[in-house]
């Protein structure tokens, strides 16, 4: 029986000798390559807790932005800072997105003013991916003096400011100072007394600013908001809550008879918030017999014709 087994083994090796040799050689090569990689330690990447490609405000924890986007963004931002440091105003201006230019720096002079103040001395920066949504990538730059050059001599601690730079990979140009984009809305509410049109919205990372046009169709003055009376006369309606106007108590929105006025209403709303802006609510529209309002001892308006609330939808 032992002879049979030996014979079978011998025949097996004889039959498959080339395959066996090929497997042994292949296995040896794998071991050698593995050892080579270990010895040469190809993974030389610096171990660091600094993860600039992982967005801070992302709901998907630890997920890096695509390498191509990251590398491209780093190059663009490096160029932007370099141009600012070297006071190459035209080149900075050319880098900006068209809407960003129109809204934030209508002329190159306004950009020059900004750069001359912010980049009075040479600045360096650190970059951190902040948030991304679709093709929009938001980066937070922390900008400060070149501390390697100064050694922080004469400074108690590091002084810096944060700047949000937005890159939309579907568009040409970058946006700075947290500017995202501008959207035309042209939604409206109208009745016999007035027409309110929401013309457009300017979106910045921390706020939304709505440009509205109000037409008074009556013979009487209409008040939409008055200073120091209420901060809830005008609200931005989101999915889950209502948001007050920025500096609500400073607003004095009075439209004279048969007149049209335009206003810019700013509400705090972060770009990373998942809530959608649905409407602008006007909670206390007052039509008066004459302006100014006459109040009785109880604080009620005596010369009022009508008071009511409406909302202008932002989505058609």
């Amino acid at each position: 029986m032992l002879l049979n087994i030996r014979l079978k083994i011998h025949n097996f090796f004889k039959k498959y000798k080339y395959i066996i040799v090929a497997i042994v050689i292949g296995w040896a090569l794998i071991i050698i390559i593995n050892q080579y990689l270990k010895n040469n330690n190809l993974n030389n990447e610096l171990k660091s807790t600094y993860k600039p490609d992982v967005p801070i405000m992302s709901s998907q924890t630890g997920l890096e932005i695509p390498e191509k986007v990251s590398k491209n963004a780093e190059e663009i931002i490096d160029q932007y800072i370099s141009y600012c440091n070297n006071k190459e105003y035209e080149k900075v201006y050319e880098m900006l997105d068209e809407d960003c230019k129109k809204d934030m720096f209508p002329s190159i002079d306004s950009l020059m003013e900004y750069i001359n103040v912010a980049y009075q001395t040479k600045k360096v920066y650190t970059i951190q991916s902040y948030y991304n949504n679709g093709t929009i990538y938001v980066f937070r730059l922390r900008i400060f003096e070149d501390i390697l050059a100064t050694g922080l001599t004469g400074e108690e601690q590091l002084a810096f400011w944060n700047e949000l730079v937005i890159i939309d990979t579907s568009k040409k140009g970058i946006c700075i100072n947290g500017y995202i984009d501008k959207e035309t809305l042209n939604t409206a509410y109208e009745d016999d007394n007035l027409k309110i049109t929401v013309i457009s919205v300017k979106k910045e990372y921390e706020r939304e600013t709505y440009k509205i046009k109000v037409t008074n169709r009556t013979e009487y003055p209409i008040i939409l908001a008055q200073p120091d009376i209420s901060d809830a006369d005008i609200l931005l309606k989101l999915d889950a809550e209502d948001r007050k106007l920025v500096n609500a108590l400073n607003w004095n929105m009075v439209i004279s008879a048969r007149e049209t006025s335009e206003y810019e209403l700013t509400f705090n709303k972060y770009f990373h918030e998942e809530d959608t802006s649905r409407a602008i609510k006007f909670n206390n529209i007052r039509i008066l017999k004459s302006y100014p309002a006459i109040y009785n001892e109880d604080g009620e308006i005596q010369n009022i014709i009508n008071t009511y609330a409406i909302q202008v939808n932002l989505i058609k």
């Binding site: 040896a28 030389n44 400060f144 390697l148 050059a149 050694g151 922080l152 001599t153």
Partner: protein, 166 residues
């Protein structure tokens, strides 16, 4: 087995043996024993750097930064001012120590002969590390000076130093 097949197998075996030799051999150290002092020193430095990198790779980021600062201060302690000077950021040197002699005078005046570092805080901004240090003279057993250092790490054992000029 034909001669052809045997030859093929032998060639493959020789190839594997050569590959094993190339992979497992030590780093090149082929200098002649009579090579001049400079090449032997640079080889020793190269080896020391490789050993240092191996150690640094086992450390956390904070430990690495402390080690860089410690190594820098040890150069000053050992009066190796040129090596310490070469670690400084070029623009920093232009601003404060245009030549090595100025730097050496500063170091001799400011720092005690032997030093112990006590870290009060390490702050990080991207690749920049700001280290708040109390430099203690162990012989006097008292705090000598408090100083801020800035270290920028490019890679393992590849860093730039700058400091608050007191």
């Amino acid at each position: 087995m034909t001669v052809k097949k045997i030859s093929i197998i032998l060639i493959i075996i020789i190839f594997i043996v050569m590959l094993i030799y190339l992979v497992f051999r030590e780093g090149s150290n082929k200098e002649n024993i009579t090579a001049n002092e400079t090449s032997i020193v640079s080889d020793a430095e190269k080896k020391a750097n490789e050993e240092e990198i191996k150690v640094l790779k086992t450390m956390t980021e904070k430990e690495r930064i402390k080690r860089y600062l410690s190594n820098y201060m040890m150069l000053i302690e050992a009066k190796q001012y040129e090596k310490a000077y070469n670690l400084l950021y070029p623009e920093f040197k232009q601003n404060y120590f245009q030549d090595m002699e100025k730097y050496q005078s500063y170091a001799e005046e400011k720092y005690p002969a032997t030093m112990v570092l006590s870290y009060s805080n390490i702050e990080r901004q991207g690749h920049y590390f700001i280290i708040y240090v109390n430099i203690i003279d162990p012989l006097e057993e008292k705090e000598y000076i408090s100083q801020k250092f800035i270290i920028y790490e490019n890679d393992y054992n590849d860093y730039i130093v700058s400091f608050e000029v007191l």
